[in-house]
């Protein structure tokens, strides 16, 4: 589609008239109109995302009293702290485990929903999306009551079978399990809906061809479904990995990082250090630590997506 306006041959015009005409032409270009229409969003993102991002970069280079430039001093300090490496380890365990389970559950449930007859499918889709549409701060409060150290509803129920009481949030291993479980519960519907959309776009002819070739259920998944869903799996996984690494509300409400710091992740520890400990620069450094790692991961995953797009 032609984007530029073709200039009509004509007589020479004065400079001011030419200027007006070129402005007029610029405004008539589709790209200019598109830019102007997205400008409010660009300004909003600049204000709410770019400025805070650069401000936090600036904060991370200051000393504790925010009066002196220390360069990478805060990061050097963090690298010498055992608690920081504990937080790095836990953030990785939390994010990777949660994303793997969200993807698996989402994949399986998407298949179930896909196979439900169209008539009743809408109801199931709606119901399965409920965990994802409730604000996590609210739903985690409900989970907190289920896991409450002294009055856990789970323990109450388990007691009927002679099990427990389980220290859901009082023991490091159980507390990690609890925060990951809630994150999976909250995030799996997102994977489910994305995978469902991808499944619906796989042409039936491919399955028919596979069936003619004698492919069994597993071979159809492996050779047809998965390759066709690759891009959506990659993008969903990347998106979820970033969001899960940056999680705050679930851990903050459920365990506040305890017991003995064993459930702290980057955001909750940054809050503890920066806001509760009045060391804003160190808090900013903690929260920025993952940026380069996630950026590299994003480049690799998205590059891969691009390649596959071209192959197709």
């Amino acid at each position: 589609m032609a984007d530029a306006v073709v200039r009509q041959p004509g007589v020479a015009r004065p400079a001011s008239a030419r200027k007006r005409a070129s402005l007029h032409n610029a405004l008539r270009r589709k790209s200019t109109v598109a830019f102007l229409m997205t400008l409010p969003l660009i300004l909003l993102i600049t204000l709410l995302v770019v400025y805070p991002a650069f401000y936090s970069l600036h904060l991370a280079t200051l000393n504790k009293s925010m009066q002196k430039f220390v360069g990478f001093g805060n990061f050097e300090f963090l690298f010498r702290r055992d608690t920081f490496w504990l937080v790095v380890k836990q953030s990785c365990i939390f994010a990777i485990t949660a994303v793997v389970f969200k993807a698996l559950i989402g994949f399986v449930v998407a298949h179930f929903v896909h196979n439900i007859p169209a008539k009743g499918q809408r109801k199931w889709r709606g119901m399965l999306l409920v965990p994802w549409v409730i604000p996590p701060a609210m739903s985690t409060l409900a989970w907190l009551w289920l896991f409450d150290p002294s009055y856990s509803a789970f323990n109450y129920t388990l007691a009927f079978f002679g099990i427990g009481p389980i220290p859901w949030t009082g023991d490091a291993a159980w507390a990690r399990f609890a925060v990951i479980l809630v994150n999976v519960w909250y995030g799996a519907p997102f994977f489910m809906i994305m995978y469902l959309a991808a499944l619906k776009s796989v042409p039936d002819q491919l399955y028919e061809a596979a069936a003619i070739d004698g492919a069994n259920w597993w071979q159809r998944i492996w050779y047809v479904t998965l390759p066709m869903m690759r891009n959506i799996i990659a993008i969903t996984t990347l998106f979820s990995l970033i969001v899960t690494f940056a999680n705050f509300d679930i851990v903050r409400i459920l365990t506040a990082g305890g017991p003995l710091d064993h459930t702290h992740i980057f955001a909750t520890w940054a809050f503890r250090v920066g806001i509760e400990g009045s060391d804003i620069p160190l808090g900013a450094s903690v929260s920025l630590f993952m940026v380069p790692i996630l950026a590299v991961a994003a480049i690799f995953i998205l590059r891969d997506v691009n390649k596959r797009g071209n192959e197709a």
Binding site: P149, T255, R272, S278
Partner: protein
């Protein structure tokens, strides 16, 4: 249509006349002649307590002709701390702002000194305790004014019946309403024996070991009663001392008789423990008792708030003062100071205490025997010893006497409760001490 033009001469004459009229006019004091003042108060959990603050501020504003706006900021989700951090970064915000414990020191450079009003207030209301000086003053500079609203002692709140039944302790006899405590035998040994007896009786003491303030405050007072400091007043590391070892040994024995889930407790857990009737003692200001009055009156009428047990180095009670500060970039410092003086008058303090049902504590020596604490009940006199009227215990904050900026890190990271848990869960004493020393070294960064 005729058009009248203004000549240059006419314009100059008119301007001169109007200027003269304005200058010579009598000064009329408008409704808000003394400007505007924005206030950020802590949002009180007691119904009606905010109303008392609003009334006191309005009373002052009407007299001083100041236009006021009040925001009640909740402490839920650390909203006050977030507001303080945001205002400090933006160098703009409330003219008077409530600041919990460590925050005046954290922003000492940005706070307007209030020596000029603190000196007359102290002269009028009596001296303030050492913790208020430690948290509210940097050198000779008063950083903020101690606030009555929100200040609290987190001493023991015991069940009279359960202590009598299982530990054979008559807590009302030790802490009689209206008179001096007879607490010579109320020490850490007695406390531990009582905790063991109550645990055997199925009503364990409810003392948290989580990472929130209630848990840290109790640990702080117990450590201090053993003389245990992680960092001393000069800023030297003092983790590997006998006093710290003794405190950890004591805690190990105590943890063995506490509910098994105390590592996960937050600031609501101990309240629930008392109100549900499951425990014989918690460490808390009278908020748990006040809620029990509404939700479980049979529990409330058996509650008695009293002093801490003494340790080898004295009797220390967990104390958390709030402050009211004014930023150095405030646009109306004079009005702010005038308001803070008004809020620190004995009559205002009395109103705050009454409105909060005795929860709020003034910092001043002459203000610990108000009527509210003597009359609140049931049972009558349950709050008599809450404000430490006989001064028989030292009011302290966890991690003191370390320099406040280091102590704040020890406090925020809950290093004390983490040490107790690590050791109680089987870590070797020296390993726990080495871990704590490493943590404290990190807290010393400037």
């Amino acid at each position: 249509m005729s058009r009248k033009t203004l000549t240059r001469r006419q314009f100059v004459a008119a301007t001169a006349m109007s200027s003269a009229a304005l200058i010579s006019a009598p000064y009329v004091r408008g409704a808000y002649a003394a400007g505007k003042l924005s206030i950020g108060f802590w949002d009180h959990w007691v119904p009606g307590a905010n109303k008392a603050s609003t009334e006191l501020v309005n009373e002052w504003a009407a007299k001083e002709k100041v236009e006021i706006s009040i925001d009640y900021i909740t402490s839920q989700g650390k909203k006050i701390e977030l507001t303080i951090a945001a205002e400090a970064a933006a160098k703009s915000g409330h003219d008077v702002l409530a600041m919990p414990t460590w925050w005046p020191h954290a922003h000492a450079e940005l706070l307007e000194p209030v020596n000029d009003i603190m000196e007359p207030i102290i002269k009028q209301n009596g001296d303030v305790n050492g913790t208020v000086k430690y948290l509210g003053r940097a050198g000779n500079k008063w950083l903020a004014v101690p606030a009555t609203i929100g200040s609290q002692i987190k001493g023991p709140c015991s069940r009279i019946d359960l202590l009598k039944k299982f530990a054979n302790i008559d807590i009302q006899e030790i802490y009689p309403a209206g008179s001096q405590p007879k607490a010579d035998n109320w020490n850490m040994e007695t406390f531990l024996k009582a905790a063991e007896a109550c645990q055997k009786g199925g009503v364990p003491f409810g003392i948290g070991l989580g990472e929130t303030t209630d848990s840290t405050d109790t640990a702080g007072a117990i450590f201090q009663s053993f003389g245990a400091e992680l960092v001393n007043a000069k800023g030297d590391l003092t983790v590997k001392t006998d006093a710290v070892r003794q405190a950890l040994e004591f805690y190990k024995k105590l943890i063995a008789v506490l509910p098994p889930d105390v590592a996960a407790w937050d600031d609501a857990s101990n309240n629930k423990w008392l109100i549900s009737g499951k425990g014989a003692l918690i460490m808390n200001p009278p908020s748990a008792w006040a809620v029990a009055k509404r939700d479980a009156p049979q529990v409330a009428e058996q509650c008695w708030t009293h002093g801490m047990p003494s340790g080898p180095k004295g009797r220390y009670a967990p104390y958390l003062p709030y402050f009211w500060g004014t930023w150095s970039f405030s646009k109306n410092k004079e009005a702010a100071k005038s308001l803070l003086t008004h809020l620190s008058q004995p009559s205002s303090i009395e109103k705050f205490v009454a409105a909060s049902g005795g929860y709020d504590l003034p910092a001043y020596a002459n203000m610990t025997t108000l009527k509210t604490w003597q009359e609140e009940g049931p049972p009558k006199g349950t709050l008599y010893h809450y404000p430490n009227p006989h001064n028989h215990q030292t009011l302290s904050i966890a991690a003191s006497p370390a320099p406040p900026k280091i102590a704040q890190q020890i406090y925020a990271q809950a290093t004390l409760t983490k040490m107790c848990l690590r050791y109680a869960q089987g870590e070797k004493m020296e390993a726990t001490l080495a871990w704590a020393e490493g943590e404290c070294e990190g807290f010393m960064r400037s």
